[in-house]
């Protein structure tokens, strides 16, 4: 994850955050260790898209637009639609984000978000076939990050799931009837950071700057693991991971309560 502009945070601030977590089990902004920031979801923000959502997670803000277009399936999966996920870390979101081809960071975020949606089988891709091997529906998930204050993976997952859950397949463009995108479940990713030996949920940027390791766990309603991703150069013990899975199950349910019905 990007560092702040000078790649330094003052020692004082760093110590303050660490001490607060160590001594009080409380974070710099007053949250408990396993407490998410406030989530606000506004769907249908881009009426011209097939589905859309603006999500703020604390001071992080992302816009997701779904486009669904008729096209060719992949040769090895003639009987299912196509899903593709792209995340743009717009330069407007942070001083060191640059325009240009996707960075390693944006690719990792997009791929973790994509895996959570794909592996949970949230979208019933089998129902997106117009004519096998010839024409299927291609679902483009595009996410613009416009304000960055930490935890993009979860903000982007929330935005993508919310936009998909309200999306409509524009079948009228090929002479059929529009229909809601067939959805089977609502996955939620929960990203945790290890700071010192403490694991916190939904980190903000300052926490990302002092953390050693990151773990994202994505589950669906069935309580099964659908995707995981450890990031950053630190480590987790197996016990920490097992505890994190438990936490993510609880926090994921809270997130799911926020999703549009």
């Amino acid at each position: 994850m990007p560092r702040d502009e000078l790649d330094v945070m003052s020692e004082i601030k760093r110590n303050y955050i660490l001490q607060k977590i160590r001594k009080d089990g409380i974070r710099a902004d007053g949250r408990k260790l396993d407490e998410m920031r406030k989530v606000v979801i506004q769907t249908n923000f881009i009426p011209r898209a097939s589905g859309s959502a603006v999500v703020t997670l604390g001071r992080t803000k992302v816009v997701c637009g779904i486009k669904i277009e008729a096209g060719e399936p992949f040769p090895d999966t003639p009987n299912q639609g196509v899903l593709t996920t792209n995340v743009e870390l717009l330069p407007m979101a942070f001083p060191t984000f640059e325009a240009g081809p996707p960075s390693e960071d944006s690719i990792e975020i997009a791929r973790v978000v994509d895996r959570g949606i794909r592996e949970s089988k949230m979208i019933d891709l089998q129902k997106l076939v117009v004519e096998p091997a010839k024409q299927v529906w291609i679902v483009f998930i595009d996410i613009d990050v416009i304000d960055y204050d930490g935890n993009l993976i979860d903000a982007c997952t929330i935005a993508a799931v919310s936009a998909l859950a309200t999306a409509v397949v524009p079948a009228s463009t090929i002479g059929q009837k529009d229909f809601p995108l067939p959805i089977t479940c609502r996955p939620a990713s929960v990203t945790m950071l290890k700071i010192d030996n403490v694991v916190v949920v939904d980190p903000d940027l300052e926490e990302e700057q002092i953390a050693s390791a990151r773990l994202t766990v994505t589950m669906a309603e069935d309580g099964h693991l659908k995707a995981m991703q450890k990031g950053e150069p630190g480590f987790f013990t197996l016990e920490e991971i097992q505890k994190a899975i438990k936490t993510s199950s609880d926090v994921g349910s809270q997130i799911r309560n926020n999703y549009p019905k």
Binding site: I46, P47, V63, G65, I66, M92, D142, D147, D149
Partner: protein, 246 residues
Amino acid sequence: MGTASDKKLFDENGLRLDGRSPGDLRPIRIETDVLNRADGSAFIEWGGNKIQVAVYGPREAYPRHMQNINQAFVRARYNMAAFSVDERKRPGPDRRSMEISKVISEALQAAVMVELFPRAQIDVFIEVLQADAGTRIAGLTASAVALAAAGVPMRDLVVGCTAGKVDGKVVLDLSKEEDNFGQADLPVAVMPKSGKVVLMQMDGDLSIDEFNEATSMIFKATERINQIQRDALKKNYASTAQDWGE
């Protein structure tokens, strides 16, 4: 300009498809300081356009050889979100967006007091989230507000508006269908205090008389749009004052 078509763009009362008279603007709403990280920001809705603008700077120009020892330069980057248009757009700049970035940069450069910040650059990022005709002019109008909200010293704001020709009539602020099937498009931006023109492009077919009619419509409209800009900034200053008062 657009493709020829039999499409009727006026009703029997001479009103446009969306009910506007030839000289009417679409609804415009500007909000400032909607982002936390940027030094200044503005969000504009103009008809169906939804455009987010953020300003960073003045900051040291990079790379070094771009630095001008006499003044700052304004670098606008106009970008369309993949989902902003009917058919999904591949991310990244194309030739159209590069040209628009250039003319917007030049228009803003004229208004910012660049001489106060030698060696600096001021970045203006314009993200079109939903496109509905007139994005360059809407993005530029919002950019001026975002610059002011960032505290960048300016000679004046910059206000843009478009006129065009539809079914042989000159009309203000083309809608998407009028843009697609119209006969001329004239985007203009001015510094409203002085009426100085800092952006002008045109394509299609306009007689000299039509051009004069169009510019006169635009100049009148920019006064109204400028008022919306100033109201947005006032609201912002008001809330800032309130913050201080607490």
